[in-house]
């Protein structure tokens, strides 16, 4: 197996999962987003989204904060520095893998 191909096995599996990849992609585009927005954009159910967010929070990739915007209660999610770095690294790895396969 070539080094390039071996790198595919080193992909961050936490992010590689499609639903979580979608969540971190959304969060990497913004400063922060609330639960409702993530739910609508990802199309996940409340329970599913909660479970994925908990996994990302446990890994230190996402910070979840209960707050208020005016009188509106919000569950705001934000990508941490570690999460941002993990997403960037994942995309770089995937890009180099894609380049390799399309050669």
């Amino acid at each position: 197996m070539s080094d390039d191909l071996r790198r595919v096995t080193e992909l961050d599996r936490l992010i590689h999962e499609p639903a979580r990849l979608l969540i971190v992609t959304i969060l990497s585009t913004v400063e922060s987003a609330d639960f409702l927005f993530l739910q609508r954009e990802s199309g996940l159910t409340k329970g599913n989204l909660s479970a994925h967010l908990s996994k990302l929070e446990d890994a230190g990739y996402v910070k979840i904060q209960k707050t208020f915007k005016g009188k509106l209660p919000l569950t705001v999610c934000k990508l941490t520095a570690a999460g941002t770095e993990a997403v960037a690294q994942y995309r770089q790895q995937m890009q180099s893998f894609m380049n390799l396969t399309t050669k």
Partner: protein, 212 residues
Amino acid sequence: MDDKLLDVEKRVKRYWYSDGIVELSLGGMFFLLGVYFGLQGYLGENSQASVIMQIGLFVIVFAGIVGVGWLVNTLKARITYPRTGYVEYRKDGQDIKKLKHIIMGVALAVAASSIVLFDFFRNLDSMTLATGVMVGAVFIALRGNSTGTTRFYVVGIFSILLGVVLSLDKLPQEYNLALFYGLLGVVIMVSGGIVLLGYLRENPMLAEDDNE
């Protein structure tokens, strides 16, 4: 796969404009600018009120920008966030940098073409033409391109055409600018209003515990 992720990123950026509130507020500000230039033209260059108004232009524009920001945030907190969720966008200056490049590029292009086509430009209201091209370029290159929102291309093209048409007439510059900002403001507000109506129809208010 990366294309799909790029689509997601564009969709998230587009969300800021999905309710038409930004356009309604921005269109309102443009319309007020049109009223301002119209009044200036009506009062005449040498009247005391016109001189005071000229000094006040900076204050009006600054207050307008702050006012639009406040209005957009207030309306979004009441209309958008309870319906489709809250998003805070990054203030990384990327858009401002892009905006500066676009304005500089268009200004240079207008200046260069006015030198090359001096005879042609002599008969035009170059201020209205430059305003139309610049505002149009900002709509097309900055908002349309980064979000993939078709209506921004339409507004951008309308702005350029309006600038060109008004620059050819023989009205005083103040009236041309008044017509430009007034008409563009109305078009942007109508576009925002239609988008807002569609948004409200598609997204009824959720029960309170839906955002937990």
